[in-house]
Symmetry: C2
Subunit: 358 residues, 2 copies
């Protein structure tokens, strides 16, 4: 892998901008951290209102994870890790602790990071007798996520030019992680380095993560951002104004085929047709070496109601059939580079070998 | 041009489905048609409510055109033609008639059909003394639009296979015309022929003409339709399920480069990448022989408010910069065929020669 040589001595941006509400935080009145509570930036109320939701017990935290108060696999993982500390504070017996942890890890069964983080944290004290020990384990997971984001940001920012214009997709910033994020974290890093990136983002129907969350992050960091309808991406990429496309990933097959938020594949194809580089930014934990290529990645289809309207207002005829896939697969041949916390990988991708070179 | 041989003896679908409110109609209690009023299907209330708005004078008709109660260039043209009859009924002098016609033709300055239809109708009786004569002229324009749509439908439907699955964009059906429309009219014709086309359509942010209008038309005709987020178009075209993409056009350059609703170019590029035919359906009046290629077609940018939210609800941070182009240009090299009322044209397109062969 290429070392991020140009990154040496350059500043690392803060995970949370000055004065903003962190995505996930552990709060306590005691210096030891115990007793304490999890505070989540309530993303269901963005971009209108920035307010923290305090969860002092496991039940409200599970509810918050289910309602997408916190979303993004790494952020959910860290919230779950702190949830294990809540479980230890609350449980009156080892059996009760284990039961709370079981419920917590199932709050969103598809988010693999949640189960992983709950299991790893609770392994530090399997009977839940010492919340301080569990808090230390949760904080390690939190710190590792921040460090991985910072490293991806440094490696990725070396690909960008001063004053360049970039397109990103969905939300892959601090609201999806506890660090600065993946693809958006690269742009945030470039901003901290004084490269003045201009960032276009589509709305990303149906859930509008681009309009609601990425635009919010660009605004709170004082970055130069432009929102457009998803339908405008083709015209933008054909305009010659875009220096690169940066996206995150939900799962990457051994050959580099990448599953990500619906709409990613179209951006990759349009970038290729117009000679624009297409970069995937994701930690190596996103690589699934058990999957040879993208044809084996299952694609979740979500509820038709997400497409039939916006919040409570219908925008289509009642009961009209809907196809609402949450992800699509971008073939590895369209990926110009894969940016991980360990450096920048170029095609052809042989990711099983990459992972074994730890 | 290829004659629509396979179309002979096949049924022509009605412009308005049985029992539905017509897009534009002239209504009168008198057999002569005079006095009468224009009735418009209020498209601002679709898909929730199907109700006609009656305009007995020119002022409410102008207001309705401005508020997009009626939209789509051919439909606006026919509404304007009937508006000239209203002007003659209402005006107390030739000067007053001319003034009402002037205001009418400027209700939407960018819709070239409106000025053309007002001028052509009023030329039948320039002083506005004989509403019956003007009504006959307006009815000729209305009948010509219906006939052109029916012919495009017949020519285009010969391209489709029985039981095929197609993707369309925006709204190009009876709500955009007074006949069955252009691209959607082809699919409606195929349905009337018993070919059972399955029709996918994106929502088409920001104004949701796909979700609000095309889904409504598919439902009212009892056709097999599926709505998806605009972001899903790439995955759909990569899936192998689509037999062809059908779109309309706002303006076509002499070389075949086509300006159409934003998002069209992306569908063309994605169709090409996946081996799917891409068909443009438009009357020859859409061809602008004065424009050599797409680089000279001006692209209208619309208000940021259309993208910042849905109706009165904000979906992005207040004041965030927006890019909202209304159209994009699809290069002729991506167009598999151009379907007009005179037949099916194949590339290379030499449209100046086509127009001179009337």
């Amino acid at each position: 892998m290429m070392p991020g040589a140009a990154a040496e001595g350059r500043p690392t941006p803060p995970s949370t901008p000055e004065g903003a509400v962190p995505t996930v935080a552990w709060k306590s009145g005691d210096a030891s951290g115990i007793p304490g509570a999890v505070e989540l930036l309530d993303q269901t109320r963005l971009p209108e209102t920035q307010v923290a939701l305090r969860c002092g017990d496991v039940a409200p935290l599970i509810d918050a994870i289910r309602r997408l108060v916190v979303r993004g696999a790494p952020a959910i993982g860290v919230a779950g890790a702190y949830g294990v500390v809540l479980a230890a504070q609350e449980a009156k017996s080892p059996a009760a602790f284990r039961e709370l942890c079981r419920k917590l890890r199932e709050a969103r069964p598809t988010a693999v990071n949640l189960a992983w983080a709950v299991d790893r944290t609770s392994a530090a004290d399997p009977e839940g007798r010492d919340p301080r020990r569990l808090l230390a384990a949760a904080r390690r997971i939190h710190a590792e996520d921040e460090a991985a984001c910072a490293a991806m940001g440094r490696h990725g920012a070396t690909l960008l030019r001063e004053g360049g214009t970039y397109l990103t997709h969905c939300n892959t910033g601090r609201l999806a992680a506890t660090g600065i994020g993946t693809a958006l974290g690269v742009l945030v890093t470039a901003h901290a380095w004084g490269l003045r990136p201009k960032v276009y983002v589509g709305e990303v129907r149906p859930l509008l993560q681009g309009a609601r969350l990425t635009a919010f992050e660009l605004q709170e960091r004082g970055m130069d951002g432009v929102l457009m309808p998803d339908t405008a991406a083709g015209a933008l990429l054909a305009s010659g104004r875009i220096d690169g496309v940066l996206v995150g990933a939900d799962r990457i097959a051994a050959n580099g085929d990448t599953a990500n938020k619906i709409g990613t594949y179209a951006l990759a194809e349009l970038a290729r047709a117009n000679g624009v580089p297409f970069w995937v930014v994701a930690p190596t934990s996103t690589i699934d070496p058990s999957i040879a290529d993208g044809t084996s990645i299952p694609i979740e289809e979500r509820a038709p109601e997400e497409v039939r309207g916006w919040r409570k207002e219908a925008t289509s005829p009642a009961g009209f059939p809907v196809w609402n896939p949450a992800f699509d697969v971008t073939p590895a041949r369209l990926v110009s580079a894969l940016v991980t916390e360990r450096g920048v990988l170029r095609p052809p991708f042989e990711l099983r070998r990459t992972l074994s070179n730890r």
